[in-house]
């Protein structure tokens, strides 16, 4: 959805720049989310000397999950696209 939000502001000429905007928007968060999922899987697989610690982490995870579920990429994509692509587009038109 982020990609569509960004590309909709692009044309053939600005498309490569739009893809960079998308990359910058997503390149930190996506691997971070995936690493978190991997860590979560390891927690499920319970390599703990004290299972009470695992259980406490599972309980504490609810707030983290809420924050993940609250996340909406679209406003961020709109802001990133408007600041970058429209700027590029204007510069491009001035040059031509």
């Amino acid at each position: 959805m982020a990609l569509a939000t960004i590309l909709t502001l692009a044309d053939r000429r600005t498309a490569p720049a739009a893809l960079l905007v998308y990359e910058h928007l997503r390149r930190e968060r996506v691997p971070q989310v995936q690493r978190g999922a991997r860590e979560n899987g390891l927690r499920y697989d319970s390599s703990y000397a004290d299972l009470g610690l695992r259980d406490a982490e599972i309980k504490a995870h609810a707030n983290f999950r809420k924050s993940r579920y609250d996340y909406d990429v679209v406003p961020e994509a709109q802001a990133a696209a408007q600041s970058c692509i429209t700027g590029l587009g204007k510069r491009g038109h001035e040059e031509t």
Partner: protein
Amino acid sequence: MAADSRLHVVIVGGGIGGLFAANALMAHGLRVSVYEQAPALGEVGAGVFLTPNSVRQLQRVGLGSSVEKWGARVGNDSRYFRQDGTPIAPVQVTDSAGWNATFGMHRADLVTMLSERLPANVIHTGHRGIAFEQDGDMARVSFANGVVAEGDVVIAADGIHSELRHNVVPPSPPVFSGSVAYRGLVRYERVPEWPTNAWLMWLGTGKHFLVFPVRAGQLINYVGFVPADEEMKESWSAPGDPDVLRRAFPGWDARIEAVLTLKRLSGGLSTTASHCRPGPGVCSPSLVTPRTRCFLISGKAPTSRSRTGWRSRLS
């Protein structure tokens, strides 16, 4: 700002990532073409889990009512358990606003929902993308059957064994996590002790077991995650040996045994080896190379470790 003529986006891969991208791009007025290597978008895979952050995006492309129809809402009875069945904690099933948009879905239903929204001439099956090149403003994908597709932008959504990935990021072979997921589906009538409105998960050393309903509660999806000694090739559809799964959870909660002792595990079992890409940009599915018109939104992510991976693809 832009758009004298609509951009044409070529999407390689008709899985969840590629099909959702196609829906999102069309909803924004762009032209799309989807190329899938399989001969049909078929009944592949078992359960996937949708959470509010992904349902929010599905609603935006007009699929909110389809999620309600085909999904099975997972509610407040959802729990984590110790392996013996002792409850640990509730599962978070809402966002901060209390929105319970949390659904189990059959992967095939999700693929059907996503593909039905697209005009028939958008999806081209039997096309395996093998090469990418760009020439000025034109991006080009070649397929194994000799077809060449041209567009303004190419999205490589062609899975963890992506053939186009190397055009975007340096090669980094997937690394086996050491865990294998056994997945199966069973009619809800056959397992009356399992709820049709909750996610239940049992946690034990090196293993976990998970159930949640799909397809409006008609089917129960179950997944056993067990350690594996040797690497398996990842596939949604590799057959699994029910006896291996049965032997993996001795002495766990009787509800797990109840399904594993069913004579015929309905729909069979599939196994999936979970993979991850190490190093900088771990598993990063959304990288572009500067100046290129090809990028990647993939990294097929079918296990518990990576469910968020594909949720990210809806973002």
